[in-house]
């Protein structure tokens, strides 16, 4: 059986200065699918994410350093990573967008549940926001929201003290790639 690994929200940890063990319940390199095609490396992506959400700046961040360490068979083919900052550049949130390979099995409920289980230190609660199911969990100082849209997985990590987490989540759900 092919072992497939994928980085989940690693860049979030780097940007917020947290250790992987501190913010994730499981190994940061989980097996997520038995069937994804081997070899193709995951690429940093530039998805068409809006430049602002609410009144906050959204800016792509460089994840090439994090991703270059990944070897082996990966379920994801592109990862985009974005910071959400106040006008004074204070980091309030991050958005990670992962595009899965067509043969990764991303449609399967088990695949999604496995990934959701990796995010955060608390058991994820599923909330219906509009027509989207968002899996919300907490980790050190962060609230995480995870949702899926076709081959894309979104991970929104919000600083705990930010006063508009739901407004930001609602705005982020409008991102369509």
């Amino acid at each position: 059986m092919t072992r497939v690994r994928m980085r989940v929200a690693i860049a979030t940890l780097v940007l917020f200065g947290l250790s992987a063990g501190g913010a994730h319940a499981a190994s940061p390199s989980p097996e997520v699918s038995p069937s994804a095609s081997p070899s193709a490396p995951v690429k940093p992506a530039s998805f068409r994410v809006p430049a602002t959400l609410l009144d906050l700046k959204v800016k792509p961040e460089d994840t090439s350093g994090v991703l270059s360490g990944e070897k082996g068979n990966l379920a994801s083919q592109e990862i985009g990573f974005y910071s959400v900052r106040r006008a004074d550049n204070f980091l309030l949130a991050t958005i990670e967008v992962i595009r899965f390979k067509p043969d990764s099995g991303y449609q399967a409920a088990d695949f999604k549940a496995g990934l959701v289980g990796l995010i955060g230190l608390t058991r994820a609660q599923t909330l219906r926001v509009g027509h989207t199911l968002v899996h919300v969990s907490g980790s050190k100082g962060l609230t995480n929201g995870v949702w899926f849209d076709g081959p894309y997985m979104y991970v929104l990590a919000i600083r705990g003290e930010f006063e508009h987490p739901k407004d930001l989540l609602r705005a982020a759900l409008e991102i369509k790639l």
């Binding site: 609410l54 599923t126 909330l127 219906r128 987490p165």
Partner: protein, 378 residues
């Protein structure tokens, strides 16, 4: 003989296999939880009628209007991070709202937090564009709340992660009770309020198990495709007179599920009505009921000659007194009540908006709630 066997085989399966009915009902409740809906939740307890009208757009947006004896008490609107409150009767409303987060303070209610900010760092303005509001006031909006005006706290509902602490115990906060009704029913099905889980059966007046005398609810409107799922109260094991241990006897006394009749009316795969009746009188009116004897076994004598209502009151008092000696799992509060919850626009385009022209205030932790609505956990 053959005819007799055939008749028995027709009668014994009450109508559908119990496991199937349970799965069907849980599926119906899950579908409804994932939909927008309006709900009128009416509860009668000890002569008081309380109504909560709710509109649920999604898990981050709802409205709940509370009336007591036909008089408005409070309105609450949660729209993402913003929360609007209007107290028509300040004393009654603050009792409801404070019950969730702090002991009830009926008299002097302290002022609301004077500062709208709970963060050490200034947050950017992120008011949803479709709300018009008047400028913030210095006292957090307390005076406006006292005088019955709408007050909006733009960051009054920011608790996104914490849904796990929602209690499914009824009676403390009617808004919580109304908004967590589906979870309450799921808990009742899964054995909440008693040592054993309650069976679910589809209503069938032809069933050998069905006794119209103990059915407190209307029959479903079968002509219009309405079904009724009944969460059947569990029966107690036969009274065992050989047991002498008081503690064992007390553990064997019934919990709330024993007194509860709960039915879910369904049309087109979605609930249209939920009714619950928790009644000690109904149980005692069964001539075969031996609860008075069971209480006598643990040293609580209640006269069988008392009028039914007084007997029920005495039984309730005795069971409450003995609660401290029983495991927590069986001691969900026995609270006689009649509940009727009517659903409309389920799956429709229910929209929840903040009131225009409201005062901007800050509730601080005073009336804080956890995230109430949820689809469950992963």
């Amino acid at each position: 003989m053959l005819v007799g066997l055939l008749l028995v085989s027709l009668l014994v399966p009450a109508c559908t296999k119990r496991d199937d009915a349970t799965s069907e009902l849980l599926g119906i409740l899950n579908r409804a939880t994932g939909s927008s809906y309006r709900l009128q939740y009416s509860e009668s307890t000890t002569g008081q009628k309380l109504v909560v009208k709710t509109a649920v757009e999604d898990d981050l947006r709802y409205q709940a209007d509370v009336t007591l004896e036909g008089k408005s008490v409070s309105s609450e609107i949660v729209r993402d991070d913003a929360r609007a409150l209007r107290f028509f009767n300040y004393e009654q409303a603050s009792r409801i709202y404070l019950a969730t987060v702090a002991p009830v303070v009926p008299a002097a209610v302290p002022a609301l937090s004077p500062s709208p900010s709970v963060s050490p760092a200034p947050a950017p303005s992120a008011t949803p564009a479709d709300v018009t509001v008047t400028p913030a006031v210095a006292n957090g909006g307390l005076e406006q709340l006292r005088s019955g005006d709408w007050v909006v706290d733009k960051v009054g509902a920011t608790n996104l992660a914490n849904t796990s602490s929602v209690s499914v115990k009824a009676g403390k906060d009617p808004v919580v009770d109304a908004l967590t009704l589906f979870r309450y029913v799921q808990s009742a099905i899964n054995g909440g309020g008693g040592p054993s889980s309650s069976a679910v059966v589809k209503f069938n007046p032809e069933s050998i198990d069905y006794n119209p005398r103990f059915d407190p609810f209307q029959h479903p409107d079968a002509a219009h495709g309405e079904l009724r799922y009944d969460v059947v109260p569990p029966e107690l094991p036969p009274r065992d007179t050989s047991i002498t241990s008081a503690s064992q006897l007390i553990q064997g006394l019934p919990g709330v599920s024993y007194f509860r009749h709960l039915s879910v009316y369904v049309r087109s795969g979605l609930p249209t009505r939920i009714q619950e009746s928790i009644s000690i009188e109904r149980r005692l009116s069964d001539p075969q009921n031996d609860l008075i004897q069971r209480l006598a076994d643990v040293g609580t004598k209640i006269s069988n000659t008392l009028p039914l209502k007084e007997r029920a009151t005495a039984v309730l008092a005795a069971l409450k007194r003995l609660e401290k000696d029983r495991p927590a799992a069986t001691t969900q509060e026995i609270r006689p009540r009649e509940l009727r919850a009517d659903f409309t626009e389920t799956g429709g385009a229910v929209k929840v908006t903040l009131p225009d022209g409201a005062t901007i205030g800050s509730f601080g932790p005073r009336f804080a709630r956890t995230q109430l609505l949820s689809q469950g956990s992963q």
